[in-house]
Amino acid sequence: MSPLLSLILIPLVTAAFCMAGAAPRRISLFGAGANLLLGLYLLASYNIGIGGFQFVSEKALFPAYGLHFSLGADGLSLVLILLATLVTFAAVWVTPKIEKFAGMFYACLLFISAGAIGAFASIDLFFFYAFHELALIPTFLLIGIWGSGERQRIAWKVTIYLAFGSFILLLGLIGLWLAVPPELRTLDIRLLQQLGSAGMMQPGPVVYLLLLFGFGILIALFPFHTWAPEAYASAPAPAAMLHAGVLKKFGLYGLLRLAVPIFPAEIQQFAHLVLVLLLGNILYVGFVTMAQKRLDLMLGYSSVMHMGYAFLGFVALNQLGLGGMSLMLFAHGLTIAALFALSGEIARRTGTLEFSELGGLAGVAPKLGLLFGFAAMASVGLPGFSTFASEIMIFFGAFARGTAGSFDWFQTATALALWGVVISAVYMLRAYRRVFWGSRGSAVKDETEDVSSGVRWAVILLIAGLLLTGFRPAILLDYLNPVFAYLAP
C-alpha cells in the first residue's frame, strides 16, 4: 500500500474504531501518533536530490472521464502533511474529557485530519477538491454539537459560507479543466502544471478570479473573513486548532499548486487588487483585532490578519515570496494551534475568556503563562520562531518586486504590511498583559489550576517545532526551495 494512502486511511480507520465504541482518546492518540511518525518517515525518505512528486500511486477509477485516484507528494505537500499530522496529534492530545458523544468528537477530528491530508496528497484535481469537502462536514458537526455560544447559528453560517466558497472554487476548477485542450484533457495536477508552464493552456482571467475568490473565501481573504473569528471562538479548541491550523491552509496550498504555475500572467494582472485586499487583512483586520474584548475572538481575528502576509508572498510570485508563504503555512499553523489550545485551557481553568474578568493569571498558573508567552511571541514573529523566518522571506520577496530607487505598488504595499508587525505586537502584548499580568481579574482565584499535562506537552511539542524550524529554517526550506525554483515563473 502506498504510504500516502496509509496516511489517509489511518485516521479514517481510527475514526471508525472511535465511532464503534472503542476507548476514543487512547486509540485516537495512538492513530494520530502513528500518523505523525509516518509523516516524519515520509519526510525523511523523500529524495530531495531527485525532487518532484514521489510516493506516487495511481488507480484509474473512471478512465473514460480521466478520473484517477492518484496520490503523490512533493516537498510542499510533505511540509503540509507534516503540519497536518503534527497539529492533529496535538489537537487529539489537548482534547479534554468530552461529556457527550466522545467517540463522535474524536472521529470528527480525525475526519478533518484525513480530509486535509488527502487534499495535500492528491495529485488528481477531483480528489484534491473532494477531500477538502470531506473535511468541512465534521467541522460543521464539531461547532454545531460541541461548540459554545450560539453554536448552531454559527455552524450553519460557517458551513454555508465555506460551501459557497467551495462552490465558486468548483466553478473555477471546472473552468480550468475545460481550458485544457480536449485531446490532452486531464485531471492530473502534475500535467496541468506542465501544460500551464508550457503555455499550452490559458484559462483566462475569469477562471483565475474564480480560483482566487473561491480559495480566498476559504482562507478568509478580506472582505470574506467574517466567518472565521466567530467560528474559531465558538468551536471547541481542538476543532479550532485543526481548522485554523491545517484545513484553512488548503486554500493557500491550492493557490500555490494551481494558480502559480498556470496563471502567472493573471496573478500579475490582478496583483494590485490582491495587494489592496491583503492590506485589508493586515491593516483593517489588524485594527479590528485590537478592539476585541475576548481572547478567542482576538485570536480568530489575528489568524485572519496573518493570512494577509501569506497573500503578500503569493502575489510577490518569486521564489523568495512563495517559499516564505509556504513556510508561513507551516509556522502559522503551529502557532495558531498552540494559541487555541492554550485559550481553550484558559477558558476551562477560569471559566471565561473576557479580558475584563482576567488578569494576573501568570501568578497562579506560571506554566500556562510561560507557554502562552512563547506562543504569543511566535505569533508576533519573534526571531527564533519560524514565523519570523517566513515573514522575512515574504517581506524581502515582495519588496524585490520592483526596481531600486523608486517606490512602486509592491514596495508601498510591503511597507504598509510591515506596519502590521507593530499592530500584531500591540494586540498580542495587550492580550498577554490583560490575561496574565497585572492585578488579579475576578475570574482568577488562588485555587485556579495551572495547565493540564495534556495541553502542556502538546503545546511544548508545537513550540519545539516552531523553534526548531526557526533556528534552522533549512529543515523545511530544503524541501520547499526546489518546488519554487520549479514553480516560480
Binding site: 523568495l320 501568578g363 526571531p383 519570523f388 517581506f395 520577496g397 519588496f399 500591540v426 525554483a485
Partner: protein, 603 residues
Amino acid sequence: MNDPQLFPWIILFAPLVAAAAILFLLPRNDTAAAWTGVLTAALTCFLSWKVFLDPSLRITAQIPWLEVPGAFSVPIGIILDNLSRVMLVVVTTIATLVFIYSAGYMRGDEGIPRYYASLCLFLFSMLGIVLADNFVMMFIFWELVGVSSYLLIGHYFRKDSAADAAKQAFTVNRVGDFGFMLGILMLWLATGSVMFSGIEKNLAAVTMHPGYLAAACLLVFCGTLGKSAQMPLHVWLPNSMEGPTPVSSLLHAATMVAAGVYMLARIFPVLLAAPEVVREVIMWVGAVTCFAAGLMATQQDDIKRILAYSTISQLGYMVVGIAVAPAGDVAMFHLFTHAFFKCMLFLCAGSVIIALHHEQNIWKMGGLLGRMPLTALCVVVGTLALAGTPGFSGYYSKDLIVAYAHGANNTVFWITAGAALLTSFYMFRLFFVVFLGRPRGEHAEHAKQSPAVMTIPLLLLAIPSLAAGYPVIAKHFFDLPHPEIPHIVHYALLAALGVGFLLAAALYARGPAKDPVRIPLFANRLYIDNFYSWLVANVQGGLAVLGSWFDRWVIDGLFVTGAARTVWATGYVLRLLQLGNLQAYAFFFGAGVLALLYYLIFR
C-alpha cells in the same frame, strides 16, 4: 575548546545555553540559577578580553541560517573589528558585574531563576548585535534584546505599572523596528546585499536617486530612535525603570540602549556616503533629545527616572557625535565612558533603594552621606564623570563630541553646551537631595551600607568611571582623532559645569523638605507622554472600535447576512409560487451552474 576561532562562538552562544538550562533544568533553584548566570557572564567576559587582546584573530566561518539559492542568503556570521572588540569587552565586563550585583539585589525575590534566565537571554541577544556581520542578523538580535527587555521590565508582572511599562517598551521599539526593517529592505534592494561589507562595497558601484539612499538611511536610523530612546520615541525608557534596578543599569543605561549608537557606528561608511541631509537630521534629533531630556530630568522626583532621562540625554550626545564627527569612534568613546559611570550610578541608586526598602522618591531620602559612605563616594565619582569634570572619564568623551559639534553647527554647539549645564544641575541636585541634609523618612533614618556583593561591583566600576577617558587608556580602545579644540568649547563646558553646580547648590545643598522649584512643563515631560496616551486611546482605539463596528454591522451584517437573507427570501417567494424549497434550490443551483458553464465554454 582552546581554539581561538571558537571563542566568539562560545561568547555568543554560552548565554543562550545558560538561559535554556536555567529555564528548563533549574526553574526552582535560586542559588544554582544565580551561579549559572554569573559564571556564564564571567566566562564570556574572560573570553572577550582574550579576543580583544588578540587583534590578529579573524573569524571567517559562518553558520547558514536562511538560504534560498540564487535569491537570498542570511548567515549567522561574526564580525571582529575594533568596534566589535571594544563593545564585546564593555558589554561582558559590565554584564558580569551586574550579574554579581543582582545576586544581592534580588535576594528574597520569588522569581530569581526567571530573572537570571532573562538576563542570560539578554546577554545572548546583545552579543549577537555586537557580533553581527549582516543587517538581518542584527535585526534578529535587535528584536531579541527587545523581548528580553520586555521580560525584565515586566519582572514584577503583578504590578500594573510594570506590566504596562513592559508592553509599552516592546511596542515603541517595534515602531522603530518598522522603520529599521524598511530601511534594511531598501538598502538590500539597492545594493543586493544584507552584509555590512557587501552594502559598503556595492554602494559605490550602484547609482540611485540620492533621495532613495537618504530615505533608506533615515529609516534605518528609526531603529536607533526606538532602541536608543531618541525623540520622539524616548517615552518608553523612563517607564522601563519599573524593572529591577540592575536591569535598568545593564539594559537601560549601559548596553542595550547604546545598541542604536553602535549600529550607527557599524554603518558609519554608509552614512558618510549618504547625502548630507541624513547626518543633518541625525544631528538635530540627537541635539534636541539631549537638551529636552535634560530639561525633563531636572524636575523628576524618582531617583531612577532622573537617571533615565539623563541616559536619554547622554545617548543624544552620542547620536550627535555620530552625525558631526569624522569617525564613529568619537561617539563610541562616549558610549564607552558613559557605560561605566551610568551603570555605576544606577547600581548606587539600587543600593539606596534597597537600603530604604524600595523607596525611590528622592524627597523621602536625605542625609545618606554618613549612613552609606561607600555608595555616596561612588555617586560623587559618577556625578563628576557624568557632569564632565576635568579629570573624570566623561569629560574627555563629551568634550570631543561638543568640539565637533562646534565645528559642524553653531546652534547645535550651544544646545549641547546647554545640555551639559542641565546635566551638571540635575546630577548635583540628585546628590544634594539624596545624600545631604537630614533624613526625610523613617527608612532613610535607618539606612545601612549594602552587602559586599553589591558594593564590590560598585567600587570596581568606580575605577573606569574615573579613568576610562584618560588618553593613555583610551588609545588602547579607540583610534581617536585629535582635532584642534577651540578654547570656546572648554570655556563653555567648564562654565556649564560650574553654573549647573552653583545653581544646584544654591537651591538644594541645604536639604530642603520639598523641591523649591516647580516647573510643571518639565515635571510632566513636556506633555509628550500625555500626547501619546491620547493618541493611543483616541486615534488608535477609535480606529479599532470603528473598524470593529464596521466589520460587525456592515461587512458581516449588511453584506454577508444580507446576502443570506436575500437568498432565503427568494426561496420564500418561490415557495409562495408553490415550488418546494428543495426543488427551488436545486433549480437555481443547476441554472447557475449551467449559466456559468455556458459562459466559460462559449464566451
